[in-house]
Subunit: 162 residues, 2 copies
DNA sequence: CTTTGACACTTAACATGTTAAACATTAGGC
DNA sequence: GCCTAATGTTTAACATGTTAAGTGTCAAAG
């Protein structure tokens, strides 16, 4: 590989176009475009889908951890949980030990939806893997996770054990 | 299972967590968090900022090309242009040659805003560069651009002259 | 000139992002 | 028990994302 020293100052639009915010946005759009038809078919938004999957994987989980894992803000999660509960896909109840917390569980209907659409989703992701290469995706995921860690918590250390 | 008495803050890295949509979203959030204070200070949203910068770099540009370059959808751009025009940061007028098109220009106030805040923005980006390494960012940008291109060729309409 | 189809927005309706503020509960100190 | 601070969640207000449908314009054909 040649040393990455390409800075084509000649292009008028290159300055804004070759930046992390734009590049990350474009890449995410390219990926999500593949999933949108499936999501629209089951009448579930992208964020609702993430919430459902996290709830299924985590089992019973409180709203704060759910918001963090599903990458949605607390105000958004409040609305999403209300919608999903109204559709019967999840069940909500107060934590008896700490009545501030809302605990979330997946319902039978939610499990069924995830089981069916999950297969389609996995198929789409496999298509993407075949198109890009599993190793290339793994490298990109590593790079993204490293960037996230190196930029995100300036002070928040995750290592709980001293 | 006993209710969480202590906080298992770190969500176990499940299947959902190591996927392109989530990883791209998290990375973008980590980057944007650095720019948000500056944007809030000048009372400009992230999308409005992108639009302004593209208009400045491109000079006079029509709405369709602007939407594509700034990564916003047409309905969003309509509202954004209305807001920016009301604030006097841009000027809008019909294309005389093709009255379907809306042409956008930067105003003196817009130039002034971009000049001032642009310096801060550049400083923040430089901070990020120093933290991550310029070569590492360049590699990531290359990977992201390649992924974007490799996932989009279902639509082979490239009338983009450079 | 009129029709047809395509293009470039524009509007509408609902969902979420983003920020700030409010509410309910818990934990600790008096 | 009351007060204060902190935590977990909710509400509110505005901006944007997303999809579908509508409006105005251009271009080609009759």
């Amino acid at each position: 590989m040649a040393p990455s020293k390409h800075r084509p100052d000649v292009f008028p639009l290159s300055e804004t176009q070759r930046t992390l915010p734009i590049a990350l946005l474009r890449a995410r759009e390219a990926v999500m475009e593949r999933f949108r038809p499936m999501l629209r078919e089951i009448d579930v938004t992208e964020q609702q889908w993430r919430v459902l999957r996290v709830v299924q994987e985590a089992g019973e989980i409180d709203a704060t951890q759910l918001a963090s894992a599903a990458c949605v803000l607390a105000p958004s999660l409040t609305r999403i949980l209300k919608t999903l509960e109204a559709r019967g896909l999840i069940a909500l109840h107060r934590d008896e030990a700490d009545r501030r917390r809302t605990l979330v569980n997946i319902s039978a209907a939610g499990k069924s939806l995830l089981h069916d659409a999950g297969q389609t989703s996995a198929g789409i992701y496999k298509e993407i893997e075949e198109r890009l290469g599993a190793d290339r995706i793994a490298d990109l995921l590593d790079a993204l996770e490293n960037v996230t860690q190196d930029l995100g918590p300036s002070n928040t250390d995750v290592t709980d054990d001293g």
